[in-house]
Symmetry: D2
Subunit: 243 residues, 4 copies
Amino acid sequence: MTTVALQPLRIDEAVRSTDDVVNILDKGFLALDGAFASDLAVSNGARVSFNLASQEMTARDEGLIRFLMRDHHGSPFEHGYFRFIVKAPLFVVREHHRHRAGHSYNEWSGRYSKMKAEFYIPSNVRTQVGKPGAYTFEPVDEATREAARGEIERQSLEAFAAYERMLELGVAKEVARTVLPLNMYTTYYWSCNPRSLMHFCSLRNSEFAQYEIRELARAAERFLERLMPVTHAAFVQNGRTAP
Amino acid sequence: MTTVALQPLRIDEAVRSTDDVVNILDKGFLALDGAFASDLAVSNGARVSFNLASQEMTARDEGLIRFLMRDHHGSPFEHGYFRFIVKAPLFVVREHHRHRAGHSYNEWSGRYSKMKAEFYIPSNVRTQVGKPGAYTFEPVDEATREAARGEIERQSLEAFAAYERMLELGVAKEVARTVLPLNMYTTYYWSCNPRSLMHFCSLRNSEFAQYEIRELARAAERFLERLMPVTHAAFVQNGRTAP
Amino acid sequence: MTTVALQPLRIDEAVRSTDDVVNILDKGFLALDGAFASDLAVSNGARVSFNLASQEMTARDEGLIRFLMRDHHGSPFEHGYFRFIVKAPLFVVREHHRHRAGHSYNEWSGRYSKMKAEFYIPSNVRTQVGKPGAYTFEPVDEATREAARGEIERQSLEAFAAYERMLELGVAKEVARTVLPLNMYTTYYWSCNPRSLMHFCSLRNSEFAQYEIRELARAAERFLERLMPVTHAAFVQNGRTAP
Amino acid sequence: MTTVALQPLRIDEAVRSTDDVVNILDKGFLALDGAFASDLAVSNGARVSFNLASQEMTARDEGLIRFLMRDHHGSPFEHGYFRFIVKAPLFVVREHHRHRAGHSYNEWSGRYSKMKAEFYIPSNVRTQVGKPGAYTFEPVDEATREAARGEIERQSLEAFAAYERMLELGVAKEVARTVLPLNMYTTYYWSCNPRSLMHFCSLRNSEFAQYEIRELARAAERFLERLMPVTHAAFVQNGRTAP
């Protein structure tokens, strides 16, 4: 009998086999790669103050979680774990990776492998109304929308063609990639804890955040809601302010 | 039919029901409360650089982990999670809680509940030989050992008696506790990731660390070894230097 | 001519030569050892969003800082630095050192040198009224106060005597120190940035914090007020919630 | 008499008035905006272990710093501060901003203001030789170099033209910017401490780092050397491994 080792898969293929995928942003996704997270761990992170541990969630534990959220007792929300695989355009990733405490990232590198010709072409093309600090956004008319999408698509393909021409000339990938645009997709692992996840969602699933990262944060928040429903409800009730 | 909610348990009782307890430091313990950790996640945290993901550990993945450890590529080791419950004397906890990045703690509070009269009485009573920066420790003779243990026990009980007398006078717990000694036990939740756990072990499961925190770190390292054997072997092979 | 190198000083002596000392908690202090902090750096940390930098504070910069504080834009408040020397009792330090992100500490070690017989004897002896989560504190009567202070002082001296007897027997400092009580003083360096300092003050210069750490936080906040008056005013106006 | 408030300046102009600018990467720079950093603070961060503080650097303090570096005692190196202004291409900034602990950033935002048509055109065009994990880079021949520079320049200008056409159509800046390439410049404030700065330099002023971020790290290391010469010498002597 021969044992054949499973070959590494492209991230896209690896993720497709999961149920826990939320498709976002044109060709992107957020996939839950694994989690160890519960409301009970939050409650017990607080009960340890009294040298106690709950064996299961009760109404009192739910009340305790609401109290912790409201009074900004953040540390009990750190005793859990979420690991995601993300596929998103670079301009979204640049914002995401600015989150530091309680977040870990490992990303596809354009130094080591050739990037793929996949680009985010926005459905939601909008215009900016108002002054800095108080912008609102409104959809553009259909003609402008198509013109913008055309510009973005054309520009993306031309950039990729220039990238490939340089690779054919023998230029190092790390040099050639510098012409690639911010709407190109990348993929990465993202680990966080319930507190840092809520902090991310409070800033990014917000009307002040750019639409695209808000889509990412909205998807992430769905997993918080599924795995930690009491915590999530308290978070929402508290105006989505992270504790 | 009546459903009776399970009552919160004392931490000691809650932990006793677990298999994953290592008894350390006289009356203390380190218990694994849960984990989501694997060598495969480390390998994939690196393979994502090439937009790939392994489906199972192979010899190549093992080699990759050894390479990451040796060349100090630390971030792929952050994609995992360990949660412990610890019971240890305060002087050990003071050292432990100095570890910041990638560590979360929630501890029993002497402000809110009465502490218990449990104190660490060392078996390993030693004397200090050599100069600062280069101490070694040697066991004391039996008479000195018994004298020291007697002093420590007597002093602990007297401190606790003074604590209780103040409580009886109506003095607030948070004031009365200030006479309690550093060998009193406390309990806490401790969450970390494989990288921060290795960083803790590299500094504390070390001949330069105090014996007591070394016992704690040694116990913690056993869980790393059990759940992430390839990572642990590479860590040891690399002189226990965290990546 | 002979040059005589200045000898290292005891921390207490070194600090006494500074103007920037706030005496707190009986025999303790908070001393500003140095700082590089300004309101202008906050404003510019925000103006860089527009690729601009202010050359001096104007009314518009003050308004900008108030806006940043109110809308929880925290990162511009990280571009500054405070370094303190602290002398405080261990039970206060235990709470202080739980603050992780943006805080650095280095502390006197009982492993390497003999501790001094200095103990915090509280003036403010109080009793606890109400239920967990909603305690209030009231002063005890004079007789109770004197009884408690007597207990604390006596217990401290007995603990120190036991410590010294063990040292005389040749027991290692790191073992002997374990009988010392939580009201003993230690000293340490503490570095932080304006944001992490405000986070500390928001949790500790609070009616929910223990009186003693509140005294420390109150002293620290005075230095924030002196060096960054606009930031401090916005912080207070915003209910002392850190951005 | 009329007082005219100084107007905010473009970052480029503001920086030009400083002596502390290192020009790097074509049109970029690293400017020291301020610092509070000394070897003495490192030494004292260690001496506090003995409750002592040095008043000036002596040969013993220098030896102490070398010992701390060699034996990985990292925390005394956190008691200092550097603030930089950086102008660099996006592909460099993406790598830089992955550094989390002990680093603070605030960056020019393409959401709020129009970007400038400034692009990094590499002098050092190279080819990649060898296998993943063990690449080396060699200069390309002159014809390839000119071809690559031409591609990069042409592609940059076309991308910017598409960006401007979309802005003229009324498309929001945050949407239009997504076609801009990774070699476009941005500017940002960067705060760090001596330890996190050394960690950055150990990973990025390294033969394994991409040439461009190495130039940034090399420039940053010059400021470490100027302000903390003993620390820097020990860092280099220790193989540029951060403590």
